[in-house]
Point group: C2
Chain length 320, copies 2
């Protein structure tokens, strides 16, 4: 089986933007390919983008643990604006983790959500946001790095293909009738979504979840993803599993309380946490994906492939 260059693979799909650098990287086909850690180590400051404070949620649990979440306004603008509004109103303060289902999700919200004494939502919340989990788009220059496979195809079980787009794991499906593309964020480990009821447009952002198991890709295009945990997911993923149906806690005393959720932009400048994510439109990211797909050292047989949820985008504290 041949290992094809990323660009050659992506060409028929017209999706791979050219990375800023033009020259082919020498180390891609060197005898000893770099490790993912070596690619990160060799990255320069321009390979990183700051996570904007207005896109960074800081969730502080009652026990002091902190979870940092990057929001994705370019993919789910109405949902994200709802969440910002809830955070600015301090609406999340005092809610709790209500559900931990092993190999699936951790979910937090108002424990009285189904009851008459539920917490009223602040003014301005869009109560029936649009279906931002399945965006109609057109083929063009959207995909930064189309994921690849040595078997001459972009294999993915769930979507026509997958890519990293503007820093986010993304799937594309071709709508047969119109040849338009339907774009969706992908339910990888650590992605954050908006819980909803049976009606497709009932997720306001007041109930959120994050994935803590094998990517439940059947949720793609069914429920809005709005971001990802960039640090501190262990405070959620190591919580005791709920013993009720779907992993809901049966005893309210088991719930982990949430002390506060703030947008970093609302914090005094000196107290703002600052993160950087690796840019995905660069040769460095391409090399990183290649390194993830071709591990040496301990590995006897490199996979020569990587699925969209095994890329694990590098994220670091700013100045790291």
């Amino acid at each position: 089986m041949n290992r094809l260059a990323l660009t050659a693979l992506a060409a028929p799909l017209l999706l791979a933007a050219q990375p800023p650098e033009a020259a082919a990287p020498a180390q891609l086909h060197a005898e000893t390919p770099p490790t993912p850690a070596e690619v990160i180590e060799a990255a320069t400051q321009q390979d990183w983008r700051p996570i904007a404070p207005q896109n960074l949620l800081v969730m502080t649990l009652a026990d002091g643990g902190q979870v940092f979440i990057e929001l994705a306004p370019d993919f789910a603008p109405v949902h994200v604006e709802n969440i910002r509004r809830l955070a600015r109103a301090h609406w999340f303060d005092g809610i709790a983790v209500v559900r931990v289902q092993d190999n699936y999700v951790v979910q937090w919200g108002d424990p009285a959500e189904e009851e008459a004494d539920r917490k009223p939502l602040p003014e301005g919340i869009v109560e029936q946001p649009p279906a931002e989990y399945a965006l109609v788009t057109t083929a063009g220059e959207e995909g930064d790095i189309v994921l690849w496979h040595p078997r001459d195809y972009l294999f993915d079980a769930y979507a026509d293909w997958t890519a990293y787009e503007e820093g986010w794991p993304t799937s594309y499906d071709i709508a047969d009738e119109t040849r338009t593309l339907v774009r969706s964020l992908v339910h990888c480990y650590g992605m954050v979504g908006v819980g909803r009821g049976d009606n497709p447009d009932t997720g306001t952002g007041a109930e959120l979840y994050t994935v803590i198991g094998h990517a439940p890709r059947h949720l793609d295009r069914n429920i809005a993803l709005v971001g990802r945990v960039v640090e501190g997911i262990e405070h959620l993923s190591s919580l005791p599993r709920g013993t009720g149906p779907l992993g809901f806690y049966e005893d309210p005393a088991q719930r982990a309380g949430i002390a506060a959720v703030r947008l970093a932009s609302e914090l005094p400048e000196g107290e703002r946490p600052a993160f950087e994510a690796m840019r995905t439109d660069t040769l460095t990211f391409r090399n990183y994906v290649e390194a993830r797909a071709n591990r040496g050292g301990w590995f006897i047989r490199p996979a020569r492939a990587v699925d969209v949820c095994n890329v694990n985008l590098p994220i670091r504290r700013a100045g790291g």
Copy 2:
């Protein structure tokens, strides 16, 4: 995109054994497909196989939590025999969980494994077992249910194709030169493997791990899988993450102790736990996979696909 029958998809690969029943199931193409729960509910006793006591490990943690592991002797006979021998010698008693890496693995073994005072292995352990993680086989009737995809192909990013074989998630690769098949168990959530050093044949079974995150498929064909957790994984997956490199615990006090590991066959008959796994060579399992791939109800857009690690083989207490 057409939805093809499982057999039609699998035919060119000569891998799908005919299920025992010959007739096409009416409900597969009914207006309202059954849910996975409904397929399980409708299963009869002959759709289940007992997990043999000599293939069932009972691991009791120091805090009383119990983890039950089914061994896969047909895939890794030498490794499994080592593990049985260690269990019969009560060698595992008093070891500990030494590593918990988020979105990756929980690992347990002798904390002094690298030191002079490590626990000596019992007599008869094969210290350099063969590479049972990449079994050469020939195309034939091996695969029970080849996983499927509506896009006319068995898409998997890592292997030429995937299947459930004799109850286990399995991948196949075609070796170009010889046209023989290389078969491997797949690193799905909850699968249990044998830690090894840099040398490919250094895993005795005295150090084990289980997957607690998105399937790290790059480990397939690189390290021996020997079984899967059938109940109690939450006692491992909810442990605090280690803060050292690779998630190793830095402070020995953080380790979760392991009180005892027993083969169920060594326990008095009245005390033996008994589990059943859904058979995978049946029409019921085929319907179950179809139901997992095509969720209705809350789902707006069924995935019409399922990857090998999202099948989640049904397992229950015997008599359930």
